[in-house]
C-alpha cells in the first residue's frame, strides 16, 4: 500500500496536518461538565461527574480526591459490531488516559471524593484515546474542576518511512509506527506516551516534536471552544 503520493497522504493531508476537529462544550444536561468532539471520523462524548461522594467507601482517600476514568466504545462505533462492556484494550486505555489527565488536576481541595470521567466512543476512526482525552480535558474545565492547565492529545506515526501526524485508520492499521502522546499544554510536559511499531531514534525525536506541535494546535481549539460557550450569550 502506498501512503504518500506527491507529498500528500491518502486523505490529501500533508504529513504534519491534523484532521478537521470540532469541539462542543456542555453538550449534556445531567453531567457536571461535558464535551462532544468530532475528530476526523471519530465521534466522542465525554462527561464529568464530581467531585462527588465515593462508593464504595474503601476507595476514598483521606486527603485528596480520586480520579476515575472510563473509556467505553459503543457497540456500533466500529465496522464489525463490538460486544458491549469493557475488554482488555479499553481497560488499558482507561488507565493510561486517567494517568494522562491526572497530573494537572488539583486533588487536595476535595478529600474523600471522586472525580469521574466517562468517555463514550460513538464512532471510532483511529485516535479514539486522544479524542477522548481532548474531550475529557474540556469537560473537566467545564465542570469547574481546578487544574493547572489543559491536556491535549494526538497520535503521530510513520508511513512510507515518513513521520506523520494524526493517523487515519489505514495508516494506523498498515503503517510502520503509531505513537499517541498527551501533553500538559502550559508546560509542554508529556503525560501520555505509548508506541508500537518501528522508529529510529531520529524518527522518534521528530515524531515527538510533531506530536507536541499537534497538541499545541488542538489546545488552541479546546481553549477557543471553552471561551465560545460564554460568548454571544446574553449580549443584546
Amino acid at each position: 500500500m502506498e501512503f504518500i503520493k506527491n507529498g500528500k497522504r491518502i486523505d490529501k493531508r500533508l504529513p504534519n496536518e491534523l484532521r478537521p476537529i470540532k469541539f462542543e462544550v456542555g453538550a449534556l444536561e445531567r453531567a457536571d461538565g461535558s464535551c462532544y468532539v468530532e475528530h476526523g471520523g471519530n465521534k466522542v462524548m465525554a462527561a464529568v461527574y464530581g467531585p462527588r461522594a465515593v462508593h464504595p467507601r474503601h476507595m476514598q482517600e483521606a486527603n485528596r480526591a480520586i480520579i476515575r476514568y472510563r473509556y467505553n466504545m459503543a457497540s456500533f462505533s466500529v465496522e464489525e459490531r463490538r460486544r458491549p462492556g469493557p475488554d482488555r484494550r479499553s481497560i488499558e486505555i482507561s488507565k493510561v488516559s486517567r494517568e494522562a489527565i491526572d497530573p494537572v488536576i488539583i486533588k487536595e481541595f476535595y478529600p474523600r471524593s471522586t472525580i469521574d470521567v466517562f468517555v463514550e466512543i460513538l464512532q471510532a476512526d483511529a485516535g479514539t484515546r486522544s479524542a477522548g482525552i481532548n474531550a475529557a480535558s474540556v469537560a473537566l474545565a467545564d465542570a469547574g474542576v481546578p487544574m493547572r492547565g489543559l491536556i491535549a492529545s494526538c497520535a503521530v506515526g510513520k508511513v512510507d518511512d515518513t513521520v506523520v501526524l494524526d493517523l487515519v485508520k489505514e495508516e494506523d492499521n498498515f503503517g510502520q509506527a503509531d505513537m499517541p502522546v498527551a501533553m500538559d499544554v502550559r508546560t509542554g510536559e508529556i503525560s501520555l506516551l505509548q508506541m508500537d511499531g518501528h522508529f529510529t531514534l531520529e524518527e522518534f525525536e521528530e515524531a515527538l516534536q510533531l506530536g507536541k506541535e499537534g497538541c499545541t494546535t488542538i489546545a488552541e481549539m479546546q481553549r477557543e471552544a471553552l471561551v465560545q460557550k460564554y460568548q454571544g450569550e446574553g449580549h443584546e
Partner: protein
Amino acid sequence: MKKQEMMDKTIVVPGDLLSNEAARAAEGTYVEDEKVYALIYGLLDSRDRIRVIPLSGKYLPVVGDIVIGLVTDISFSNWKIDISSPYEALMHISEYPRRIDSSEMSKIMGVGDLAIFKVIDVDKSMKVELAPKEGQLRVLRSGRIIEVSYTKVPRVIGRAGSMISLLKSKLDVNIFVGKNGRIWINGKAEDEELAIKVIKRIEREAHTSGLTDRITTFLEEEKHGVY
C-alpha cells in the same frame, strides 16, 4: 454590549497566564515561578487583585455559611443532610434547640424535608456539621425550591442584596438564598413563578455586565405582560 463591559469580563481557562505580578494573585489562580495562572475556567477579574470567578463547580462548605439542606436519612443521633456538595453533612440531635429523644427526630425533621442550616464545623477530611440557623430550626414546608450553581449565588443576591431586594419589592414573595445554591421562594403562585423565571435568567446571564438594569426591565415587562 459596550466595549468597556466586555473588557472586564474576559473568559479564561486553566493554565492561562494572567500576570507577572505574583503578589496580586487571589482565588481561582495559582503562582508558579512568580507568574500567575488561571486554576479554573471562569471570568477574569483583575481590577484589584487577580482572581478568576468560577462559572461552574461544586459547593464546598465553609464555617458560618447559611445553606438549605435536604434530609436524606436519620441515624441514631444524627440527621444526614444533603447540602448540594460532594460532602454529606450531619446535624446532631443535641443541636436541636430543646432536649429531645431520638424517637422524636423524624417528626421534627423527616427524610425529604428541607430546612435552613448554619455550617458550624468543617474538619480537614471535610466532615461537615450543621446547626439550625440562629438557634431556631426552620423547616420549609411550603413554597418552591430551585437549585442554581453556587457560583451564581453572588449574582442572584446582587450587590449588597440589591437583586433580592428588587425581586421582593416587585413581587409578593419571600426569598431565601442558601450559599450552596438552593433557593427557596414562597408567596403568591404567579409571583413564585415569575421570581423563578427571573432567577433562572440571572443564572444564565451571570457572566455578563449590566445585569441589574436588564433584570429590572425584564421584571417590569413580565409583570405587565402577565397580568
